[in-house]
Every structure is written in C-alpha cells, then in structure tokens.
Symmetry: C2
Subunit: 182 residues, 2 copies
C-alpha cells in the first residue's frame, strides 16, 4: 500500500548544467509520455530558445502537447536592449500561466523550459516559484530545465541530472546545424 | 563557402555518464529531426532497455522512425545466465545492422542506443566500431548513448555531454514510474 501510494506520486525532475541535452531530454520525455496518452504542457520561460525543428516536431505530436511561448526573448544577449522590467513582467506572466496549467489538473506532465534561467536572472522570485512547485497536484510530473538550477530547487527535486559539457562542436568551428540545433 | 561545407557535415554526438537523460535526449532529437522530415533509424544494442511508453511513442512518430531491437537483453543483471559468447554474437549482429543502415545513405539521423555499454562489456570490438563510425557518410548525424563512453570515441566526437547523476528518485525509495521510466 505504501509502495502503491509512492508509485502514484508525480516527480519533480530537473535538467541543469552547461552541456547540451537539457531541453532535448525534456522533449524526449514527451515521446514517452505520449506513448501513455498523457496530456502534456510546455511553458517556455525564455522566448526564442526553441527553433523550427522542435516546434514543427511538437506540432506533429499534438493534440497531446500544448505549447505556450512566454518571455520576451533572450535576455542580455543577441543585442537585447530591453529594460529588465520588461523581462520581469514577461517572467511574471509566464509564471501565472504555469500556475494556471499546474493547478488545472488537466496535465500529466508539465515542462517548465528554462525556468532555471528565469530564476537565476531574477525575472521571477524564489518565493513565487517555490510556492508554485510545492502546491502542484501530487500526481503531476514537473520537469524544469535550464542551467544554474538553484540549490533550493535541487533540494526539493526527486531527480536531478547535470548535463556537463565535455565537448562542444562550436569549439571546433562547426556552426549550428539544421535538425540538430534548430 | 568554407562555412557552407562545414554546415553540411553531420555530427557525431555522444551522451554518456551515470545520470538519467541519455536515451531520453536521443529521443528528444528525433522530435526535432521529424520537424525537418528527416529519416531516422534507432538501433538498440542492449535489448529490453526501452519500455512500453517510448516504444509506443516512437510508433506514433513513425513512419519517420525505424527501430531495430538487437542484443539479447540486459547482460549480467536481472538473473542473466547466458554465456558471454551469446551476447557477443548478438553484439556482432547489431553492429552489422548498424553498418548496413549507416552505409545505406537513407537516413539523416541514426541513434546507436547503449553502444557505449556494448563496447565497454567487450561485446563488440573497438576496431570494428571505430571503422564503422569513421566510414559513415559525411552528412549523416550519429548519436551514441550509454554510460562509460570510451576515450577514443570522445576524441573523435563533435559533441559530448556527460549526464551526471546529482539526485535519483530510487535513492529516496520511489519506484520506477509509468510515463517517466517506462
């Protein structure tokens, strides 16, 4: 009975680290989840990080997957000149959307993509984020991606994998690749 | 011109380490690749490591993905009493199949799942495996998964990520979960 109860608990999974494969692993989880006819929601906390290939691939997997693109684009890079307040407002909206989805009880798996980055850039507060995670329905599986996962998140997570960059093609002058990077 | 040439080079990608997310990331790559209408082949070097959810999810993604289940099941664990020769014959067959697929020119992305494990258990030789990888068509993207990637493979790879286990649910007495582990 104890075990059965435990079996039903949804997991909090964190993919962090500086290596490639964090969002990709989250994407791989959707394939597995679809095999079980699960309902899936993906919320992107940083806009523009998902590229043509994955967006198109996700579409082919629908109607099982819903995708919400939030945020106002890569912060502090690629010529970003937007004031921090604009990013924070977008972060707040993304968090509100995530809260709605989480509390709706409609999903088996919710992916909070690049949430770690939104936290570490102070676009959303620890208090609000932690409250959201702690209030999730017991059976819901949550996946959080992004480098720099905060220690408090690692502590409350069930499964944490650090993707460590051992070798990256850009080191060797190879450009971003269709089908691989976008 | 130089850059254009480089862009077309297929990558050799390795996901290794003791953490969760290696095969899952490979699976995520198939979603992205399908978005580009790529043809994909997955060859499992160790049988029985893929479970219901991912097999069923992969089916929904077909006809873009072909899956070959090779090997004779988890070696040395779960009461395996088969002689090593039987595993080696299965490894040889898996390598032959992989060679065929690689040289066929029909695929944009080939995933050699748990190949690292087959190498480290001496089910297949370094010489044969290295020859196969070095002879791949230039444009083909190869993904190799499994813990204990050999150093020579890391050296010839374009992208290597180590999935490091920071926290695992089994440590906390949580059983394998439907939709997450199988």
């Amino acid at each position: 009975m104890e075990n059965k109860e435990k079996k039903k608990k949804g997991l909090l999974i964190v993919y962090t680290g500086d290596g490639k494969g964090k969002t990709t692993a989250a994407l791989g989880m959707t394939v597995r989840a679809i095999g079980h006819d699960w309902k899936i929601s993906i919320i992107q906390f940083i806009k523009g990080t998902w590229k043509y290939g994955e967006l198109e691939g996700i579409k082919r997997l629908s109607p099982h997957i819903e995708m919400e693109t939030m945020g106002v684009g890569c912060i502090g890079i690629m010529g970003d000149k937007k004031p921090i307040e604009e990013h924070q407002t977008a972060g707040r909206k993304a968090l509100d959307m995530a809260n709605q989805k989480i509390l709706s009880g409609k999903y088996n798996l919710i992916i909070l993509d690049e949430l770690n980055v939104a936290i570490s850039l102070n676009l959303i507060s620890r208090e609000d984020t932690e409250a959201m995670i702690r209030n999730k329905p017991k059976e819901l599986n949550l996946v959080v991606t992004g480098r720099n996962a905060p220690q408090w998140l690692i502590e409350i997570a069930d499964l944490v994998t650090e993707m460590k960059e051992i070798k990256h093609p850009y080191q060797q002058g190879i450009l971003a690749q269709k089908g691989i990077d976008f």
